[in-house]
Protein backbone atom coordinates (compact mmCIF):
# COMPACT_ATOMS: atom_id res chain seq x y z
CA UNK A 1 0.00 0.00 0.00
CA UNK A 2 2.76 2.48 1.01
CA UNK A 3 4.79 1.32 -1.98
CA UNK A 4 1.79 1.97 -4.19
CA UNK A 5 1.19 5.44 -2.75
CA UNK A 6 4.89 6.17 -3.26
CA UNK A 7 4.56 5.33 -6.96
CA UNK A 8 1.42 7.53 -7.29
CA UNK A 9 3.13 10.49 -5.59
CA UNK A 10 6.27 9.93 -7.67
CA UNK A 11 4.23 10.06 -10.89
CA UNK A 12 2.55 13.25 -9.71
CA UNK A 13 5.82 14.95 -8.74
CA UNK A 14 7.46 14.00 -12.06
CA UNK A 15 4.28 15.23 -13.81
CA UNK A 16 4.43 18.58 -11.99
CA UNK A 17 8.13 18.82 -12.80
CA UNK A 18 7.55 18.22 -16.53
CA UNK A 19 4.75 20.82 -16.54
CA UNK A 20 7.08 23.32 -14.86
CA UNK A 21 10.08 22.70 -17.05
CA UNK A 22 8.24 22.40 -20.39
CA UNK A 23 5.57 25.05 -19.56
CA UNK A 24 2.81 22.57 -20.46
CA UNK A 25 -0.75 23.99 -20.26
CA UNK A 26 -1.93 20.74 -18.59
CA UNK A 27 -2.30 20.02 -14.84
CA UNK A 28 0.63 18.12 -13.30
CA UNK A 29 -1.51 15.21 -12.01
CA UNK A 30 -2.86 14.66 -15.55
CA UNK A 31 0.69 14.30 -16.86
CA UNK A 32 1.30 11.97 -13.91
CA UNK A 33 -1.71 9.92 -15.02
CA UNK A 34 -0.24 9.58 -18.53
CA UNK A 35 3.11 8.51 -17.06
CA UNK A 36 1.46 5.88 -14.86
CA UNK A 37 -0.67 4.67 -17.78
CA UNK A 38 2.47 4.18 -19.87
CA UNK A 39 4.13 2.32 -17.02
CA UNK A 40 1.08 0.05 -16.54
CA UNK A 41 0.94 -0.76 -20.26
CA UNK A 42 4.63 -1.61 -20.22
CA UNK A 43 4.88 -3.58 -16.94
CA UNK A 44 1.33 -5.03 -16.74
CA UNK A 45 1.36 -5.47 -12.93
CA UNK A 46 -0.93 -8.04 -11.31
CA UNK A 47 -4.17 -7.18 -9.50
CA UNK A 48 -2.40 -7.58 -6.16
CA UNK A 49 0.40 -5.16 -6.89
CA UNK A 50 0.78 -2.18 -4.57
CA UNK A 51 0.04 0.48 -7.21
CA UNK A 52 -3.19 -1.16 -8.32
CA UNK A 53 -4.39 -1.58 -4.75
CA UNK A 54 -3.43 1.95 -3.73
CA UNK A 55 -5.13 3.36 -6.85
CA UNK A 56 -8.32 1.37 -6.28
CA UNK A 57 -8.32 2.43 -2.62
CA UNK A 58 -8.09 6.13 -3.51
CA UNK A 59 -10.60 5.91 -6.36
CA UNK A 60 -13.17 4.18 -4.19
CA UNK A 61 -13.58 7.44 -2.31
CA UNK A 62 -12.62 9.90 -5.04
CA UNK A 63 -15.76 11.92 -4.23
CA UNK A 64 -14.49 12.68 -0.73
CA UNK A 65 -11.37 14.41 -2.01
CA UNK A 66 -13.20 17.20 -3.79
CA UNK A 67 -15.61 17.98 -0.97
CA UNK A 68 -13.25 20.75 0.28
CA UNK A 69 -13.25 22.37 -3.19
CA UNK A 70 -17.02 22.11 -3.43
CA UNK A 71 -17.51 23.69 -0.01
CA UNK A 72 -15.93 26.83 -1.52
CA UNK A 73 -19.35 27.38 -3.00
CA UNK A 74 -20.35 29.17 0.23
CA UNK A 75 -18.16 32.04 -0.98
CA UNK A 76 -19.93 32.15 -4.37
CA UNK A 77 -23.58 31.73 -3.42
CA UNK A 78 -24.43 35.25 -4.67
CA UNK A 79 -22.77 34.64 -8.04
CA UNK A 80 -24.67 31.38 -8.51
CA UNK A 81 -27.95 33.13 -7.73
CA UNK A 82 -27.30 36.16 -9.97
CA UNK A 83 -26.02 34.11 -12.91
CA UNK A 84 -28.38 31.16 -12.49
CA UNK A 85 -29.81 31.50 -16.01
CA UNK A 86 -26.55 31.55 -18.02
CA UNK A 87 -25.08 28.83 -15.77
CA UNK A 88 -28.15 26.60 -16.10
CA UNK A 89 -28.52 26.99 -19.86
CA UNK A 90 -24.77 26.62 -20.58
CA UNK A 91 -24.57 23.56 -18.35
CA UNK A 92 -27.56 21.75 -19.88
CA UNK A 93 -26.82 22.83 -23.47
CA UNK A 94 -23.16 21.93 -23.38
CA UNK A 95 -23.86 18.62 -21.63
CA UNK A 96 -26.39 17.64 -24.29
CA UNK A 97 -24.08 18.71 -27.15
CA UNK A 98 -21.19 16.58 -25.84
CA UNK A 99 -23.41 13.57 -25.14
CA UNK A 100 -25.15 13.61 -28.53
CA UNK A 101 -22.02 14.25 -30.58
CA UNK A 102 -19.94 11.45 -29.03
CA UNK A 103 -22.89 9.01 -29.10
CA UNK A 104 -23.72 9.65 -32.75
CA UNK A 105 -20.15 9.69 -34.10
CA UNK A 106 -19.27 6.38 -32.44
CA UNK A 107 -22.58 4.73 -33.34
CA UNK A 108 -22.53 5.68 -37.02
CA UNK A 109 -18.81 5.10 -37.56
CA UNK A 110 -18.47 2.00 -35.39
CA UNK A 111 -21.48 0.34 -37.01
CA UNK A 112 -19.63 -2.52 -38.75
CA UNK A 113 -18.57 -3.96 -35.37
CA UNK A 114 -21.76 -3.15 -33.56
CA UNK A 115 -23.88 -6.32 -33.81
CA UNK A 116 -22.63 -7.88 -30.59
CA UNK A 117 -22.98 -4.78 -28.47
CA UNK A 118 -26.29 -3.28 -29.52
CA UNK A 119 -29.13 -2.43 -27.19
CA UNK A 120 -32.10 -4.78 -27.75
CA UNK A 121 -34.98 -2.77 -29.23
CA UNK A 122 -37.20 -3.75 -26.29
CA UNK A 123 -35.68 -0.86 -24.33
CA UNK A 124 -33.14 -0.64 -21.52
CA UNK A 125 -33.19 -3.64 -19.19
CA UNK A 126 -33.52 -3.08 -15.48
CA UNK A 127 -30.24 -4.12 -13.98
CA UNK A 128 -29.63 -4.78 -10.29
CA UNK A 129 -27.03 -2.60 -8.51
CA UNK A 130 -23.50 -3.84 -9.23
CA UNK A 131 -22.11 -6.29 -6.72
CA UNK A 132 -19.16 -3.98 -6.15
CA UNK A 133 -21.40 -1.13 -4.97
CA UNK A 134 -20.25 -1.04 -1.38
CA UNK A 135 -19.49 2.35 0.09
CA UNK A 136 -17.63 3.57 -2.96
CA UNK A 137 -18.68 1.55 -5.97
CA UNK A 138 -15.83 2.44 -8.32
CA UNK A 139 -14.32 5.68 -9.57
CA UNK A 140 -17.10 7.98 -8.65
CA UNK A 141 -16.67 11.35 -10.20
Amino acid sequence: MIRGLTVLLLCQVVGELLVDVAHLPVPGPVVGMVLLFGWLQWRRPSKESGVVRAADGLLKHLQLFFVPAGVGIVAYAALLRDDALPIGVALAGSWLAGLALVGWVVQVWGREHAEAATLPSAGPPTAPPPASAGDGGGPDA
Binding site: L8, P25, P29, V30, M33, L36, Q41, A55, L58, L59, H61, L62, Q63, L64, F65, V67, P68, A69, G70, V71, G72, I73, V74, Y76, L79, L80, D83, P86, I87, V89, A90, L91, G93, S94, W95, G98, L99, L101, V102, G103, W104, V105, V106, Q107, W109, G110, H113, A114, A117, T118, L119, P124, A127, P129, P130, G137, G138, P139, D140, A141
Partner: protein, 232 residues
Protein backbone atom coordinates in the same frame (compact mmCIF):
# COMPACT_ATOMS: atom_id res chain seq x y z
CA UNK B 1 -17.05 29.14 19.62
CA UNK B 2 -14.67 26.82 21.56
CA UNK B 3 -11.39 26.36 19.70
CA UNK B 4 -11.72 22.59 19.86
CA UNK B 5 -14.77 22.80 17.56
CA UNK B 6 -12.99 24.88 14.91
CA UNK B 7 -9.60 23.12 15.00
CA UNK B 8 -8.33 21.40 11.83
CA UNK B 9 -9.13 18.08 13.53
CA UNK B 10 -12.78 19.06 14.08
CA UNK B 11 -13.15 20.44 10.55
CA UNK B 12 -11.74 17.28 8.96
CA UNK B 13 -14.09 15.27 11.18
CA UNK B 14 -17.03 17.44 10.03
CA UNK B 15 -16.10 16.68 6.40
CA UNK B 16 -15.82 12.93 7.03
CA UNK B 17 -19.10 12.82 8.97
CA UNK B 18 -20.93 14.68 6.19
CA UNK B 19 -19.49 12.26 3.63
CA UNK B 20 -20.56 9.27 5.77
CA UNK B 21 -24.05 10.74 5.91
CA UNK B 22 -23.98 10.97 2.10
CA UNK B 23 -22.93 7.31 1.80
CA UNK B 24 -25.68 6.31 4.21
CA UNK B 25 -28.32 8.25 2.26
CA UNK B 26 -27.18 6.63 -0.99
CA UNK B 27 -27.62 3.17 0.54
CA UNK B 28 -30.95 4.17 2.09
CA UNK B 29 -32.20 5.38 -1.32
CA UNK B 30 -31.10 2.04 -2.82
CA UNK B 31 -28.45 3.66 -5.01
CA UNK B 32 -30.72 6.17 -6.70
CA UNK B 33 -28.59 7.92 -9.38
CA UNK B 34 -29.44 11.35 -7.96
CA UNK B 35 -28.28 10.39 -4.44
CA UNK B 36 -24.61 11.40 -4.76
CA UNK B 37 -22.68 11.33 -1.46
CA UNK B 38 -20.55 14.29 -2.58
CA UNK B 39 -23.61 16.56 -2.76
CA UNK B 40 -24.70 15.69 0.77
CA UNK B 41 -21.09 15.98 1.96
CA UNK B 42 -20.64 19.46 0.47
CA UNK B 43 -24.02 20.69 1.75
CA UNK B 44 -23.45 19.24 5.23
CA UNK B 45 -19.94 20.64 5.53
CA UNK B 46 -20.99 24.06 4.19
CA UNK B 47 -23.82 24.18 6.72
CA UNK B 48 -21.43 23.08 9.48
CA UNK B 49 -18.80 25.75 8.85
CA UNK B 50 -21.53 28.40 8.58
CA UNK B 51 -22.92 27.39 11.99
CA UNK B 52 -19.39 27.27 13.45
CA UNK B 53 -18.68 30.69 11.92
CA UNK B 54 -15.53 29.44 10.18
CA UNK B 55 -14.64 31.29 6.96
CA UNK B 56 -13.83 29.31 3.82
CA UNK B 57 -10.04 30.02 3.67
CA UNK B 58 -9.67 28.74 7.26
CA UNK B 59 -11.67 25.65 6.42
CA UNK B 60 -9.72 25.06 3.19
CA UNK B 61 -6.42 25.19 5.12
CA UNK B 62 -7.66 22.61 7.62
CA UNK B 63 -9.15 20.41 4.90
CA UNK B 64 -5.84 20.30 3.03
CA UNK B 65 -5.43 16.94 4.72
CA UNK B 66 -8.29 15.72 2.50
CA UNK B 67 -7.90 17.79 -0.67
CA UNK B 68 -4.22 16.82 -0.83
CA UNK B 69 -5.29 13.37 -2.10
CA UNK B 70 -6.99 14.84 -5.16
CA UNK B 71 -3.66 14.85 -7.04
CA UNK B 72 -2.61 11.24 -6.35
CA UNK B 73 -6.22 10.13 -7.03
CA UNK B 74 -6.06 11.83 -10.44
CA UNK B 75 -2.84 9.93 -11.19
CA UNK B 76 -4.65 6.76 -10.04
CA UNK B 77 -7.23 7.18 -12.85
CA UNK B 78 -4.57 5.56 -15.07
CA UNK B 79 -5.46 2.18 -13.50
CA UNK B 80 -9.11 1.94 -14.69
CA UNK B 81 -8.02 3.43 -18.03
CA UNK B 82 -5.41 0.67 -18.35
CA UNK B 83 -8.07 -1.97 -17.54
CA UNK B 84 -10.31 -0.75 -20.39
CA UNK B 85 -7.72 -0.80 -23.16
CA UNK B 86 -8.43 -4.45 -24.01
CA UNK B 87 -12.03 -3.61 -24.97
CA UNK B 88 -11.06 -0.92 -27.42
CA UNK B 89 -10.66 -3.10 -30.52
CA UNK B 90 -13.09 -2.11 -33.28
CA UNK B 91 -13.86 1.36 -31.97
CA UNK B 92 -10.40 2.87 -31.66
CA UNK B 93 -10.67 5.15 -34.70
CA UNK B 94 -14.20 6.47 -34.08
CA UNK B 95 -13.37 6.87 -30.40
CA UNK B 96 -10.15 8.78 -30.98
CA UNK B 97 -12.06 11.24 -33.18
CA UNK B 98 -15.31 11.42 -31.20
CA UNK B 99 -13.75 12.10 -27.80
CA UNK B 100 -11.54 15.07 -28.70
CA UNK B 101 -14.40 16.41 -30.84
CA UNK B 102 -16.84 15.98 -27.94
CA UNK B 103 -14.40 17.65 -25.53
CA UNK B 104 -13.87 20.61 -27.89
CA UNK B 105 -17.62 21.03 -28.39
CA UNK B 106 -18.28 20.79 -24.62
CA UNK B 107 -15.68 23.48 -23.91
CA UNK B 108 -16.80 25.78 -26.75
CA UNK B 109 -20.55 25.52 -26.11
CA UNK B 110 -20.22 26.06 -22.35
CA UNK B 111 -17.95 29.07 -22.90
CA UNK B 112 -20.00 30.63 -25.71
CA UNK B 113 -23.40 30.12 -24.04
CA UNK B 114 -22.22 31.89 -20.88
CA UNK B 115 -20.98 34.92 -22.82
CA UNK B 116 -24.08 34.92 -25.04
CA UNK B 117 -26.36 35.02 -22.01
CA UNK B 118 -24.50 37.86 -20.36
CA UNK B 119 -22.15 36.00 -18.01
CA UNK B 120 -18.59 37.20 -17.37
CA UNK B 121 -15.42 35.92 -19.04
CA UNK B 122 -14.36 34.44 -15.68
CA UNK B 123 -17.61 32.51 -15.42
CA UNK B 124 -17.18 31.26 -19.01
CA UNK B 125 -13.69 29.92 -18.21
CA UNK B 126 -15.11 28.43 -15.00
CA UNK B 127 -17.74 26.46 -16.96
CA UNK B 128 -15.53 25.40 -19.88
CA UNK B 129 -13.82 22.30 -18.35
CA UNK B 130 -16.99 20.86 -16.73
CA UNK B 131 -17.09 17.68 -18.88
CA UNK B 132 -13.77 16.46 -17.41
CA UNK B 133 -13.76 14.44 -14.21
CA UNK B 134 -13.96 16.72 -11.14
CA UNK B 135 -10.30 16.60 -9.97
CA UNK B 136 -9.16 17.52 -13.47
CA UNK B 137 -11.82 20.19 -14.05
CA UNK B 138 -10.85 21.85 -10.74
CA UNK B 139 -7.16 21.86 -11.69
CA UNK B 140 -7.98 23.20 -15.17
CA UNK B 141 -10.17 26.02 -13.82
CA UNK B 142 -7.37 26.99 -11.47
CA UNK B 143 -4.88 27.09 -14.33
CA UNK B 144 -7.14 28.99 -16.75
CA UNK B 145 -8.22 31.66 -14.23
CA UNK B 146 -11.70 30.38 -13.43
CA UNK B 147 -13.37 29.87 -10.04
CA UNK B 148 -12.47 26.31 -8.93
CA UNK B 149 -15.28 25.90 -6.32
CA UNK B 150 -17.91 26.86 -8.92
CA UNK B 151 -16.25 24.52 -11.42
CA UNK B 152 -16.46 21.72 -8.84
CA UNK B 153 -20.20 22.31 -8.42
CA UNK B 154 -21.08 22.57 -12.14
CA UNK B 155 -18.96 19.49 -12.88
CA UNK B 156 -20.82 17.50 -10.25
CA UNK B 157 -24.16 18.74 -11.63
CA UNK B 158 -23.10 17.69 -15.17
CA UNK B 159 -22.40 14.25 -13.71
CA UNK B 160 -25.77 14.07 -11.97
CA UNK B 161 -27.55 15.17 -15.18
CA UNK B 162 -25.96 12.17 -16.90
CA UNK B 163 -26.73 9.80 -14.05
CA UNK B 164 -30.39 10.80 -13.95
CA UNK B 165 -31.22 11.64 -17.59
CA UNK B 166 -28.33 10.18 -19.65
CA UNK B 167 -29.76 6.74 -20.59
CA UNK B 168 -33.19 8.19 -21.42
CA UNK B 169 -31.73 10.99 -23.55
CA UNK B 170 -29.45 8.55 -25.41
CA UNK B 171 -32.43 6.30 -26.17
CA UNK B 172 -34.37 9.35 -27.44
CA UNK B 173 -31.36 10.22 -29.61
CA UNK B 174 -31.52 6.64 -30.98
CA UNK B 175 -28.03 5.74 -29.78
CA UNK B 176 -28.34 1.96 -29.32
CA UNK B 177 -24.75 0.71 -29.56
CA UNK B 178 -23.67 -0.07 -25.98
CA UNK B 179 -20.16 1.17 -26.66
CA UNK B 180 -21.41 4.46 -28.15
CA UNK B 181 -23.76 4.95 -25.19
CA UNK B 182 -20.97 4.33 -22.68
CA UNK B 183 -18.50 6.58 -24.46
CA UNK B 184 -21.11 9.37 -24.61
CA UNK B 185 -21.93 9.03 -20.89
CA UNK B 186 -18.27 9.20 -19.87
CA UNK B 187 -17.60 12.13 -22.22
CA UNK B 188 -20.44 14.27 -20.89
CA UNK B 189 -20.81 13.07 -17.29
CA UNK B 190 -17.45 11.61 -16.15
CA UNK B 191 -17.47 9.29 -13.11
CA UNK B 192 -20.96 10.02 -11.81
CA UNK B 193 -22.34 9.14 -15.26
CA UNK B 194 -20.09 6.08 -15.29
CA UNK B 195 -21.62 4.69 -12.11
CA UNK B 196 -25.07 4.97 -13.78
CA UNK B 197 -23.74 3.41 -17.02
CA UNK B 198 -22.47 0.47 -14.94
CA UNK B 199 -25.99 -0.04 -13.58
CA UNK B 200 -27.34 -0.18 -17.16
CA UNK B 201 -24.84 -2.62 -18.62
CA UNK B 202 -21.28 -3.82 -18.00
CA UNK B 203 -20.00 -2.91 -21.47
CA UNK B 204 -21.64 0.49 -21.23
CA UNK B 205 -19.97 1.06 -17.86
CA UNK B 206 -16.55 -0.04 -19.05
CA UNK B 207 -16.66 2.24 -22.08
CA UNK B 208 -17.94 5.09 -19.94
CA UNK B 209 -14.94 4.68 -17.63
CA UNK B 210 -12.60 4.62 -20.60
CA UNK B 211 -14.26 7.71 -22.03
CA UNK B 212 -13.98 9.54 -18.71
CA UNK B 213 -10.20 9.02 -18.68
CA UNK B 214 -9.74 10.02 -22.31
CA UNK B 215 -12.04 13.04 -21.94
CA UNK B 216 -9.99 14.25 -18.97
CA UNK B 217 -6.88 14.07 -21.15
CA UNK B 218 -8.54 15.64 -24.20
CA UNK B 219 -10.04 18.47 -22.12
CA UNK B 220 -6.66 19.22 -20.52
CA UNK B 221 -4.94 19.48 -23.89
CA UNK B 222 -7.76 21.23 -25.77
CA UNK B 223 -8.93 23.77 -23.15
CA UNK B 224 -6.11 26.29 -23.70
CA UNK B 225 -6.36 25.77 -27.46
CA UNK B 226 -10.14 26.23 -27.69
CA UNK B 227 -10.08 29.27 -25.36
CA UNK B 228 -7.34 30.78 -27.53
CA UNK B 229 -9.31 30.21 -30.75
CA UNK B 230 -12.52 31.60 -29.21
CA UNK B 231 -10.69 34.71 -28.04
CA UNK B 232 -9.54 35.55 -31.61
Amino acid sequence: MPDALTSPLALVLLTLLSYQLGLWLRRASRYHPAAQPVVVAIAGTALGITLLDVDYPTYADSALLISFWLGPATVALAVPLHRQTRRMRGVVAPMLVAIPLGAAVSIATAYALILLLGGSETLAVTMAPKAATTPVSIALAEQAGGLPPVTAIVTIVAGILGAVLGPTVLTLLRVRDRRARGLAMGAASHGIGTSRALLEDETEGAFSGLSMGLTALATSVLLPLVLWVLAL
